[in-house]
Amino acid sequence: MSAMAEEIAEQQAEQGAQQEESLFEAPPIGEQERMVEAMLFASAEPLSVKELEGRMPHGCDASEALVHLRKRYEGRGVRVVKVGDAWAIRTAPDLGFLMQKETVEVRKLSRAAIETLAIIAYHQPTTRAEIEEIRGVSVSRGTVDQLLEMEWIRFGRRRMTPGRPVTFVVTQEFLDHFGLENARDLPGLKELRSAGLLDNRPPPGAMPTLVEGDEEEDEEIGQGEMFED
């Protein structure tokens, strides 16, 4: 055995002794990591290093265990996070969607929204004032917002008229949804008529009250009656 080999062997023996000694003093760091993991999991509140160490066997180093544990959970479904001066296990932010149960309710678009949308589609780019003129009622903010949110309409260029009003145009999403290549593909009035869509009469005596606000949005009865054939 060379002198060097001897020296190495000696060092190893020393290390072994140290390890044994520390084993006696405190559990190995891997074991401490397990402890911290279990405590953070089971605790209803974030735990500080002091609190962790208070529960662990004498001589444990919760900070070091936390460094290891934190690393272990990197990129996992849950993470070890610091909350103030305490520690907790939390869901990875990108997986928050799993903690939500989404229920989708499909509703028919209101009459006001449909009409507004139709006017925009047929007359684009068009302003709010024009829509109101055609519909004969004011367009509620909510209706436009809803269509914008659905991404069926968007803002077009401002009209170069006094007040420079914004215009609305339909979007690609709109065209996709309705299976149109272009808004120009929408059937014209004549075609609508020949398709029987204009072959209607107003409900008797309904003329003066036809012009109503957006309040009657939900009322589908009028429409149903009008297009009965």
Binding site: E102, E105, R107, L117, R193, L198, D199, Q223, F227
Partner: protein, 274 residues
């Protein structure tokens, strides 16, 4: 269990069971004092069987019966009122004992003493087994004591999302509704494609005089209404209604070869004659 007794009822001086050792006597007394702690006669039998100091499978049921009967006797001597089920068991064990001791009576029906004893042994063994199983179960690691659930559970949030739909038809009808608003005139209909019964009647009254034989009613359609499906439908309805009206008036006779066959019309001859 209802053994109406109290410790002060004991009179240890009066214990005359001299043949028993002191230790045995103490044990038996403890047993009786404990009668409140027993969960029924089977539990008591199991307790007594332990004094035999053998495996439950090798237990002597005869000896056990005697032990039990002695216990009941002793309770009586001590004026301890045992619950009814203990006495029922005593009576049954006395019966079992006689069966086990006497030679089998071939005229007697029912299970033999050995069969009854075997079942009692089975019951005792089963009760002991369930007690052991219960102990093993309770010795397991338990939740909230040895292992723990998540301390900070996150509830699943219910999110309601509403999506709106509309069809192209909705859109076009919506537009049509607005655009035709201005064209509405009160009580005036757009009659481009509507042929009324009045119109049909007027036309047919003028024509039936010339038709001598059976004629399909479709031949009465006004010219140009046959090809457009919308117009044709209106003309058919109006002409049919007018034909019925004429038949009602006794001016024509209608006939149809079968369902969906052409409806034919002929002028009523007697009307011309009369």
């Amino acid at each position: 269990m209802g053994a109406g007794m109290a410790e002060d009822e004991f009179d240890f001086e009066e214990d005359k069971q001299e043949e028993q050792s002191v230790a045995e006597r103490m044990a038996a007394e403890a047993l009786i004092v404990d009668v409140d702690g027993f969960e029924g006669p089977l539990d008591l039998l199991l307790m007594l069987s332990r004094t035999q100091k053998v495996d439950l499978r090798k237990i002597s049921i005869l000896q056990l019966a005697e032990q039990y009967l002695a216990f009941v006797e002793k309770a009586k001597a001590l004026r301890i009122e045992l619950a009814a089920d203990y006495l029922v068991m005593a009576a049954w064990l006395a019966f079992l004992k006689s069966r086990l001791l006497l030679p089998p009576d071939p005229t007697e029906e029912g299970p033999s003493g050995e069969e009854l004893a075997a079942h009692l042994a089975f019951q005792l063994e089963r009760l002991q087994a369930m007690r052991d199983a219960a102990a093993k179960l309770m010795a397991r690691d338990q939740m909230g004591k040895d292992f723990f659930v998540r301390g900070l559970p996150e509830g699943v949030e219910r999110v309601k999302r509403v999506t709106y739909t509309a069809t192209l038809l909705d859109l076009m009808q919506g537009y049509a509704r607005i655009r035709t608003k201005d064209e509405f005139r009160p009580f005036v209909m757009d009659r481009d494609s509507v042929y009324t019964m009045e119109q049909a009647l007027e036309r047919m009254r003028g024509l039936i005089g010339f038709a001598g034989t059976w004629t399909d009613i479709s031949s009465y359609f006004p010219s140009g209404w046959e090809n457009d499906p919308v117009k044709r439908r209106s003309a058919t309805a109006a002409t049919f209604a007018a034909s019925l009206e004429l038949a009602k008036e006794g001016k024509v006779i209608l006939r149809q070869g079968g369902t969906f066959e052409p409806i034919e019309l002929r002028r009523r001859e007697d009307e011309r004659n009369g």
